[in-house]
């Protein structure tokens, strides 16, 4: 669809510019009664067309049209196409050369820009990959070390020791699972250039699924839920948004020290659904607030082992997902203590009147 509209736009640009050139030429001829500059006007039009359209086709077509029009209407013999006069032929060739050169130049420029964007993305991906591989080592050490210890020294250990080691395996594999889920979410966005596929999702079902998932991981942590009574439908990639909310809740459990209340609130404001996750813990260090969503990608080589588990990939993934939904995500501290994360998605409006 985007392609067709591009073709239509380019064709329109070509036609309009050619018409303008023709009109101005007529005016010149009428007012100043000179013909020497008409070729220049058409060359300029061809130059603009090559600059503003995609590829070579439009520019070359325009230069052909221009050559024929100039030849037909503005040069001797008037109102007849005659290429036998060398000066006409030369001006035609000049126009074609200008068009080809301009098109080549702009195409090159556009390609260069695309490459630059691609290399930035590539750089981000490399950073991510490096950080992830680094992060994967620690849990793997636990799992590998624990299982080999269990195999070798099983008879020398007490029940309690064994339990502790197996518990470690479980915890670290859970961490790995979350990491992989987050990575999968990113590939879900990155695969192809297509935007994410949004399906109408019932808010209540989304929240139900989120809470169920969260409860399974943190059975001890209560989450207070507030959502509108009426049925709200939000077009989204439900699996990804689910990941966002779970990540933010998880982040609160892990970092909001002293938290006693964790609230997930969703309300509608105009045509938007606002998702709000609030805790009353220690809040976020103001220094980190700015980079909290980009921290993971941006990290160069300065991360140390102790930072590892704090940084986490979760919030960066949240930002990527919300961005892909054309939304905005923000984190701020509450004056009375604690932090709040907020993001908004467009709703589909109230559907009760449709039935």
């Amino acid at each position: 669809m985007k392609k067709t509209s591009g073709y239509i736009k380019d064709t329109l640009i070509t036609i309009i510019l050619l018409c303008m050139a023709f009109g101005i030429s007529l005016l010149f001829q009428y007012i100043f009664e000179v013909q020497e500059h008409i070729t220049t006007i058409f060359v300029f039009a061809v130059f603009l067309i090559s600059l503003l359209t995609n590829g070579y086709v439009y520019g070359i077509l325009a230069s052909f049209c221009g050559t024929i029009v100039v030849n037909y209407a503005f040069t001797f013999p008037f109102f007849a196409v005659n290429f036998l006069i060398p000066i006409n032929l030369i001006s035609g060739i000049i126009m074609i050369i200008v068009s080809v050169l301009t098109s080549a130049l702009t195409t090159k420029l556009k390609r260069h820009e695309a490459m630059k964007a691609e290399s930035e993305k590539e750089c981000m991906r490399a950073n991510l990959l490096r950080a992830v591989s680094h992060d994967l080592r620690t849990p793997l050490t636990t799992i590998y070390g624990s299982s080999t210890t269990l195999l070798d020294k099983c008879s020398d250990m007490t029940e309690a020791q064994k339990n502790k080691i197996v518990e470690g395996i479980k915890e670290d594999s859970e961490w790995l699972m979350r990491m992989v889920e987050n990575l999968l979410s990113i590939t879900r966005i990155d695969s192809g250039e297509v935007k994410i596929i949004k399906t109408p999702t019932v808010l209540e079902e989304l929240i139900d699924s989120v809470v169920l998932k969260f409860k399974k991981r943190y059975p001890g942590q209560k989450v207070e839920i507030e959502i509108p009574d009426e049925m709200v439908i939000v077009p989204m990639d439900a699996i990804l948004i689910e990941q966002v909310i779970v990540n933010i809740l998880e982040n609160a459990v892990q970092h909001a020290e002293g938290m006693t209340r964790l609230t997930l609130r969703v309300f509608t404001l105009g045509s938007q659904a606002i998702f709000e996750i609030k805790d009353n813990g220690c809040g976020i260090d103001p220094k980190r607030l700015e980079t909290i969503f980009s921290g993971y990608y941006a990290s160069k080589d300065d991360f140390t082992d102790s930072q590892k588990r704090n940084a986490g990939i979760g919030l960066s993934v949240c930002a990527t997902i919300i961005k892909a939904h054309c939304g905005d995500i923000k984190a701020e501290n509450i004056k009375t203590g604690g932090a709040v994360f907020r993001f908004a998605l467009d709703t589909e409006g109230n559907i009760n009147d449709q039935e």
Partner: protein, 237 residues
Amino acid sequence: MIKNKYKILLVEDESNIRNLVATMLETSGYQALIAESCSAAKTVYNSYLPDLIILDLGLPDMDGMHFLEYVRRDSPTPIIVLSARSTEKDKVTALDMGANDYVTKPFSSAELLARVRSVLRSNRYSSVEGRLPGGRFTLRDLEIDYDARQVFISGAEIKLTQTEYNIIALLSENCGKMMTYSAIIKAIWGGCAQDGSIKKLQVNMANIRKKFGAKLGESNYIINELGVGYRMNAERE
């Protein structure tokens, strides 16, 4: 003793996962039959006629879906798909092909065993009492009288519309089985699933939840799987 055990066929090519699941099943009192490929699975299936099949989709000789199709040609033997493929599309495809449930890797033993129990139990429902006219369906506090078309929770009747009742009856008859949107829509309204009819189903489900007094995240009776469908839950997970 051994005769009374449920026979479960496990089709999985990864030897570590195979050992793990087989141990999980055996320690829970099931008899585990093992196959490493599609062709081996067919042989074991034909000679032992298992009560349940746990099927991995990525097999060395053929895609697991072939085996799923093969079994579904002439048998309702419950099948739980166990797979690393986790998109909604993969799930819907397998479920619409006749799988009873879909568990994504990685899974915990509790999760898999709950699904196994749920599917085995639901199979008993549909083959013995559930579908018979005049039958009654009970699941914890939920009771359905198929003859009178009435639904009770803890003895109190829940007033449902025709459509809502039909949905509940359908889910209960397939208790433990994940029903995709399109399967439910086909059974209730006929025809195929378009965006409009999915919305109609979602509105009905929202009303049912309200009438049932379901609390968010408490997995009472009906589980919703985003973008896939609904399942009446025989086991509390």
